[in-house]
Subunit: 437 residues, 2 copies
Amino acid sequence: MKDRIYVNELPQHVGQKVTVAGWLHNLRDHKNFGFAMLRDKTGIEQVVLNAEQLEQLRALQLESVLKFTGTVVERKAKDPSVKAVEIQAETMEVLSPVTTVAPVEISKTDLDLNLDTLIDNRVVTLRHPKQRAIFRIQAALVHGYRSYMSKQGFTEIFFPILAGAASEGGSEFFKVDYYGREATLSQSAQLYKQITMGVYEGVYGLSYSFRAEKFGTSRHLTEFNQFEFEVGFVDGMDEVMDHAEAAIREMLTTVEKTCELELKLLSVTLPPVGKRFPRVTLKEALEAYKVEGGVDETHEPDLSPAAERWLSTTWGPKHHDCGFVFVTDYPATKRPFYVKLDPADPSNTLSFDLVGFGSEIISGGLRVNKYEEQIERLKAKGLNPDQFEDYLMMHKFGIPPEGGFGMGLQRLTQNVLGLANIKEATIFPRDVQRLRP
Amino acid sequence: MKDRIYVNELPQHVGQKVTVAGWLHNLRDHKNFGFAMLRDKTGIEQVVLNAEQLEQLRALQLESVLKFTGTVVERKAKDPSVKAVEIQAETMEVLSPVTTVAPVEISKTDLDLNLDTLIDNRVVTLRHPKQRAIFRIQAALVHGYRSYMSKQGFTEIFFPILAGAASEGGSEFFKVDYYGREATLSQSAQLYKQITMGVYEGVYGLSYSFRAEKFGTSRHLTEFNQFEFEVGFVDGMDEVMDHAEAAIREMLTTVEKTCELELKLLSVTLPPVGKRFPRVTLKEALEAYKVEGGVDETHEPDLSPAAERWLSTTWGPKHHDCGFVFVTDYPATKRPFYVKLDPADPSNTLSFDLVGFGSEIISGGLRVNKYEEQIERLKAKGLNPDQFEDYLMMHKFGIPPEGGFGMGLQRLTQNVLGLANIKEATIFPRDVQRLRP
């Protein structure tokens, strides 16, 4: 739109005539004059209306789309250190009239809705500045991730979704009627990232995964995205963790640099990142939790949610000024068939989780890269190698020592922002009940 | 891998001891000595083997993964202007042995396989330098697109795939068994990009679309990706075309800058881009095709594939030194319900296609942004507004004048590279018959 400026640019235009446009966020009616609170993607500002303009807006509802020309003038601010402005409207044009009262009041500072109302009315609730901020930050996390991977010379892959058979055993698949045959929706990009690693040596991408289990928790969706990464020709697992750490660092830096206002709006402080993320074995982590945290879970084969929280919010910051902790050496029983066993102890795997923001955010490790070994691992997991023909073809024709990781996009966003439910971190969430909007 | 260098870095290391690793692309056996052609992600180079190393490799097959240390020495090249090198191997380590003969000979300069053999053996055929190049270029196109959009301050959206009902009428949907209910796979991100445009003002993303029609042509897939774009507060359609043109320019520049070798390998020359992509109406385009091209299709409501080819490869370059031509003003009968009608002639729409590389590559236009008008348009297309509740909620609660476009990723890649079949431009293609690998 020619000559249009954004609301956040107004303080630089005091005394000038400008054009602004946006949504009628609120209307303050003082009989012979009034104020329109105009919202655009950069913020909300006050427009002083004359009697005629006010009359016209009285006949409309909030969220009407308006365009004003007028002069920017200074006004008194509550906080005297801030330069406050308003627009003295000269002309007003209604770009899209709204004649129905919106189902939710998005002019409130906090929406304070139950989750179903929030999502049912996504078309409108997403316009609330705090809702909008969530998905700006989500996009920044993705940009930081891709930026790191691209600079390493790795290749971005666009993973397929429709598949014939299970690429991994385990949880339930969604079934698709595919020209009379049965197809499934991808549960994991593991097959594709390993195949393409065998070509590009380092690959990454954002995959879609689908899980048909009957989850009803605050941490599960039926459709979600996952940061994928796989790298070949590694000497050991530290190389994989180095990439995970560097990616997280660039993601956080990108959010800090490009989403300052959004972080402030959501009252989010990012955790300390120290000099290097500490790396401890599962045994060491559980021992510390027992000795320092006072909870004995040393008999457990995994970290409990409480232990994850303690490690990343108490132990890491205290000992390493760092809210991120790599935990390594998970037992073979807790890891999938493609994870490499520890040659020194085959009940152990060369695998890791990264805990941060109080929760597990990354799961990764080295992979089995030899054919015979992979067949054995499948059998040991009770799986039939004949059903993994495409997967095993890769091992048969040579892949280097390699590793990788996965990180859920919505889960990460939930944890970074401290949201109670993962659906709040999902722009159009799908769950057992929900397929819309 | 510590100290490893890539094959394309070897000429800078003449006289030095280096470590290289990769796949055994070919083996030349001269009885007491031999050459291993070693392939990594940057190229292929010759390694001189001693008798013992040769003996060891004789027992293995091509595609075995190897690591060498050795000294880089100059060798005679066919082209004396090129500095040719080879490695005198000292140590050799087999990282992954291959004991089965590969199903295709990827050491050939051209694979020359039928399409099914190519895709059935994707795990191996993707390793061929010309196959690998295709998806490096595809990723570069995506990077250029995102880079442009991000610099404009637009927000990237991650569109959902599972949906309850049709977001547009028309072609067939894939049906998913969703906890006993019926769900569908998204055919279009139109709903979501318009909703989010109504929040972020400008949005973009790479969507997945699924089409269950029984296509069997060289231009159709059942699953594909689409560049999505939508922008609000536009004065007219030229603003949308400006963004399309600038995005294409940055995509081509990115490919030129980052994929020089890949373009050379595939013998691809990018078309001229002129100073500004010409913009003509459909009538004008058909008239030129009649007068200059000698083919009268002036009675047609659309461009034929032959007309698209002529416009972008003959007319555009001749008159505007440009391989890209915007064609505007398509009849309402040929455009979907969300496209804005021309106020001056309601049988016409404010829509455009961009033809380039001999084919239509972008389809876009202005959108209906008023509630009553959208209801009328749905009815005129024989659709029931009651089935578009979420879509119409957006119009009901105010969206600005806006427009956008879509561009198929695999279709574009096919056209840029002049590939005979779209499946060659799809890393893991899905069609009526195929769901693997």
